[in-house]
């Protein structure tokens, strides 16, 4: 019953988020601040993880190719497919559920605990539009971060392969160009847009509707991470089945 109530409240929150918009001059500043906090501020961790996980994927693929009939350029091909189809859109989104999601839940939750949200409401401001809408718009730029992650993942694979002696640079480049399907990139970006919406709204929901004090802000951040990750994984399965199945 609680789950159904929460799902209903979540969709009502999304509807309310679009009502009584905040003045554009204020909203523009909020969006720019959120792009800085949520997207630009995440590029470092995305770059670090993408580069090294890309490297690990290529090393593991190379080490598992023992059959001499399998061409060496498969390493580049497998790295590209893994990074574009799964690692960049899904794996990074789960990590972002921890980084960006916790930030959103704790910042909105702290505003709830310290009555800042009540202050907005008393002033006649639609607090959901003021707080959640700019985060949702800011996360529309999330695909750029994922593109950056894709590029660095493939680059990391290339560095690991060539410097580690698992494959030649020519083989790797041949691999990443083999059987390239543009639709796979579309599929990855559609997933990324859906995950961006989830990343903005589920943590906001947990922060906005939390009750209690500082301890509950911490608990809400943990719950928010768990649910955001669960929803991302489930939607990943559904979208993959619908689009590639």
């Amino acid at each position: 019953m609680t789950y159904l109530h929460n799902i209903g409240s979540y969709f009502l929150m999304i509807r309310e988020m679009f009502r009584k918009p905040t003045k554009w001059s204020v909203m523009r500043q909020l969006i720019l601040n959120d792009i800085n906090d949520l997207i630009i501020g995440s590029l470092g961790i995305i770059a670090f993880i993408s580069f090294f996980v890309g490297g690990v994927i290529s090393i593991q693929t190379a080490l598992n190719i023992e059959n001499p009939l399998i061409p060496k350029h498969l390493v580049g091909f497998a790295t590209r497919q893994s990074v574009i189809l799964e690692f960049a859109p899904t794996f990074i989104s789960v990590i972002m559920a921890g980084k960006v999601g916790s930030f959103i839940t704790s910042s909105i939750g702290t505003m709830r605990v310290t009555e800042q949200i009540d202050a907005l409401e008393v002033m006649g401001i639609n607090s959901l539009n003021y707080l959640v809408f700019p985060k949702t718009i800011a996360l529309l730029f999330y695909p750029f971060a994922i593109t950056f992650g894709m590029f660095l993942g493939i680059l990391g694979g290339m560095a690991a392969c060539t410097f580690g002696g698992y494959s030649t640079l020519t083989d790797y480049i041949t691999g990443i160009q083999t059987d390239f399907e543009t639709f796979h990139v579309y599929y990855a970006f559609i997933k990324t847009f859906v995950f961006a919406f989830v990343l903005a709204t589920i943590p906001s929901f947990h922060g906005y509707y939390m009750k209690g004090g500082a301890l509950e802000v911490g608990k809400a951040s943990t719950t928010s991470f768990v649910w955001t990750a669960v929803v991302i994984i489930l939607l990943n399965y559904i979208l993959t089945d619908v689009m590639l199945g």
Partner: protein
């Protein structure tokens, strides 16, 4: 003026406010007092429109709040200034930005006009040099004064204060009380203060509503609270020996 008629509010089985009827007059400091759990905060949140209620009505200068559309309610709230118990300053903004916030949201003033107005109200609350500080760098008393400045910057018609003295030393508490009263007189606004602070009751309570278990147990002014024989009120207000002695002296002086 705010008129409250037969206000009833429940949370599930718990009946919190039981038929409260009262009037908060324009240009006066109106206090809601009572023990913890008597329903003061719920009453204040009903007045602010943050809680819905089952029965009764609240009218702001004749406009019944529950009959307004959502947009009309939001427009009405733009005429309300509120000082929260914990100040509720936006911690990502400087003190000046906090004070300018209602102007940015509800007016078309230029930045320099907003800064001039913020300067004026910050001087009015005796904080002429605090513009660029963050709320976390300000003391409790300063935060309360910034909250008052933010509440009055857009010339509100109604000012609500939830325990404005909590957590302050007695001297700063008196400064805040006097400031609220001066602002109420100066701008002729309807001020409603939720308080347990007996100094505030004695000093600035031009109209006092005493709540007990969700019922209005007494109402009057700081002058006739000394004379009342209502046991519920005297038990609460004169619970300390100091106030018992103050009351005796007052009665002796005025007899």
């Amino acid at each position: 003026m705010i008129e409250v008629k037969d206000l009833n509010k429940s949370f599930g089985e718990a009946h919190i406010l039981k038929g409260i009827t009262t009037t908060f007059e324009k240009g006066k400091t109106n206090l809601i007092i009572g023990q913890s759990g008597s329903g003061k905060t719920v009453f204040l949140k009903c007045l602010l429109g943050l809680f819905d209620y089952e029965e009764g009505s609240i009218a702001y200068d004749g406009n019944i709040f529950s009959k307004l559309t959502e947009d009309e309610k939001r427009n009405m709230r733009a005429k309300i200034g509120m000082v929260f118990q914990g100040s509720a300053l936006f911690d990502s903004m400087t003190i000046e930005e906090n004070v300018m916030f209602p102007l940015r949201m509800f007016t078309k003033q230029s930045k320099s006009e907003m800064q001039d107005r913020a300067d004026f109200v910050l001087k009015r609350v005796n904080l002429p040099n605090a513009h660029n500080k963050m709320p976390s760098e300000a003391s409790g008393g300063m935060q309360k004064r910034v909250a008052i400045a933010r509440a009055i910057v857009n010339n509100p018609k109604y000012l609500f204060c939830d325990e404005p003295n909590s957590g302050l030393d007695p001297k700063t508490a008196i400064v805040i009380d006097n400031l609220i009263q001066e602002i109420t007189d100066e701008y002729k606004i309807t001020t409603v203060i939720n308080s347990h602070d007996m100094n505030s009751v004695m000093e600035i309570g031009e109209k006092i509503v005493f709540l007990k278990d969700g019922l209005k147990a007494w109402e009057g002014s700081n002058k006739n609270i000394f004379k009342t024989d209502n046991e519920v009120v005297t038990d609460f207000v004169y619970s300390s020996n100091l106030f018992k002695r103050v009351r005796k002296m007052y009665i002796k002086e005025n007899s």
